[in-house]
Every structure is written in structure tokens, then in C-alpha cells.
């Protein structure tokens, strides 16, 4: 159990959620979404850690029974999650660019034509 990693990931998630909920500039909201994603990525990678294990990369001669390595599945999950985070950021920033062109403002309080 590596406590620093888990505490840091929870802090990142809470910080990201705070940014989404309280900041009014829409680029800051997008940054908040990114921070939440990175916090969860840190959580997933930390889950796979085994104390004293090596990296799970072997050529044929090194693969003996009893080899102790860290869990490779969370690493694959994290890679996928990083890709998804990049795509979410790209899509959100494209929307921000077009919103600025149409509404001439980046304040979330003024981007509210649909309400009620």
C-alpha cells in the first residue's frame, strides 16, 4: 500500500471537481475535467503496484516460474484512460473555440440561452 499515491489521487480528483463547480471561465472548467482524469489515472496505476516487483517486460530467457512483477492490467487501463482524456480535452477545447466565436464571451454565466 503506497499511501502517498492514493492521497494524492484523491486530492487531484477533489481539486478537479472543485474547479468544475466553482470556476466561471470555460477553459478553466475544461482544465478541471482534465485534472479529474489525471487523478483517476494515478489511482489506477497505483492499484497495480506490488512491493518489490519488477517491470512486466520479459524475453524468453528471463521468464521463470516465481517471477514477481507488477500487475500489467492496470497499466493497460491507464493507457486507454489517458487516450480518452486527451480526446475529451480536444473535443471540449474545440467546443470552447466555437463558443467564443459565437457568444463573444467565455464566462459561463452568460452562456445560457437554453434555460427553464
Amino acid at each position: 500500500m503506497i499511501y502517498t499515491n492514493y492521497i494524492a489521487s484523491v486530492l487531484l480528483i477533489v481539486l478537479g471537481l472543485y474547479t468544475i463547480l466553482y470556476k466561471k471561465h470555460i477553459i478553466k472548467i475544461v482544465l478541471g475535467m482534465g485534472i479529474v482524469d489525471y487523478g483517476i489515472n494515478l489511482l489506477i496505476v497505483s492499484i497495480g503496484f506490488n512491493d518489490g516487483g519488477t517491470a512486466p517486460i520479459f524475453t524468453m530467457s528471463e521468464l521463470i516460474s516465481g517471477a514477481y512483477f507488477v500487475d500489467p492490467v492496470p497499466q493497460a487501463l491507464t493507457l486507454t484512460s489517458i487516450v480518452i482524456g486527451a480526446c475529451v480535452d480536444a473535443m471540449a477545447l474545440s467546443l470552447v473555440i466555437k463558443l467564443y466565436k459565437q457568444y463573444k464571451t467565455t464566462n459561463a454565466d452568460e452562456i445560457r440561452r437554453l434555460r427553464g
Binding site: K23, K24, I57, V83, L93, S94, I97
Partner: protein, 161 residues
């Protein structure tokens, strides 16, 4: 500071640095894609490194320079071609009698060679090609949007809070 083409007017130093670093970035990115099965890296990582060459062009030459050097239409079509190759490699598993994405090329090369991991090697190359073209197209598109937005209003974006 004078603004032209969306960024600060090009310095000679920045343009020279972009010129010198571009081949290294491209070669390193293609290395990471090709050697994905034997060292850390793989399709997505290498593809993003190669796509950052578009950013180097933008830093050195501005939006006009980057858009003139790379044809965005070709990138868009090739992204879909890379994805199609991935699906065809998966279906090749079904055609050979096993399930989807089964390892049908399992007897190519020994462990530790460049092309040795079976179907996943080629799938990784297809993913690398797709990410390369896709992220490059995305970068060109967003830079083009920003340049068009800056041409409409004279001031740079993002003034409040």
C-alpha cells in the same frame, strides 16, 4: 510584440530550432511505433510524438507555413484507412476459424525480434498510423480555427478571469 499568423512574429532562432529538431522528432516517433513490442511505447505513444511535428512546424513557420506543408485532406482520409486496417486484422481472426482478434500470425520470428508478437504487432502499427494522422489533423484544425478567430477580432483571446 507583433502578432502575425496567430502567434508572435517568428524569430530566426525559433525557426532554426524547429528546423533542427523536426527530423529527430519524426525519427524518434517512428522508432517508438516500430519497436512497440520489444520496448516501452507502442502505437499511441509514437503516433502522438510524430504528430507533434505539426506543432514544431507551427512554432517555426506559423499557421500558413504548417497548413502549406501538410495537406489536411490526406491526413483525414488516411486516419480512416488506418482504422479500417485495424478492423480487417481483427476480422482476419474470424476468417481463420478462431474468434475476433485471435493471434493468427503466431509463428513469425522469435521472441525479442522486431516483428515477433503476432497479430498485435500489425494492429499496433495500424493504431500508430491512425493516431499519427488523426492527431496531426486535429492539431492543424484547431490551429486553423484559432487563426481564423484571431483574424476576425484583432485582440488575442481570453481576457477575463
Amino acid at each position: 510584440m507583433k502578432f502575425k499568423n496567430g502567434i508572435q512574429e517568428q524569430d530566426v532562432i525559433v525557426k532554426c530550432a524547429a528546423d533542427k529538431f523536426l527530423p529527430f522528432a519524426l525519427v524518434f516517433g517512428i522508432y517508438v511505433i516500430l519497436f512497440g513490442t520489444v520496448s516501452p511505447g507502442g502505437g499511441f505513444q509514437g503516433g502522438v510524438i510524430v504528430a507533434s511535428a505539426c506543432l514544431l512546424l507551427y512554432l517555426g513557420y506559423g499557421v500558413r507555413g504548417a497548413a502549406d506543408a501538410i495537406n489536411a485532406e490526406v491526413l483525414r482520409v488516411n486516419e480512416a484507412i488506418g482504422a479500417c486496417i485495424y478492423v480487417i486484422l481483427g476480422v482476419a481472426g474470424i476468417l481463420c476459424g478462431c474468434n475476433f482478434a485471435a493471434n493468427v500470425f503466431y509463428d513469425i520470428g522469435a521472441v525479442g525480434d522486431l516483428i515477433s508478437a503476432g497479430t498485435i504487432t500489425f494492429m499496433s502499427y495500424a493504431v500508430g498510423y491512425k493516431v499519427l494522422t488523426g492527431v496531426g489533423f486535429l492539431l492543424l484544425l484547431m490551429l486553423g480555427l484559432l487563426a481564423a478567430a484571431d483574424d476576425d477580432d484583432e485582440t488575442p483571446a481570453g481576457e477575463n478571469e
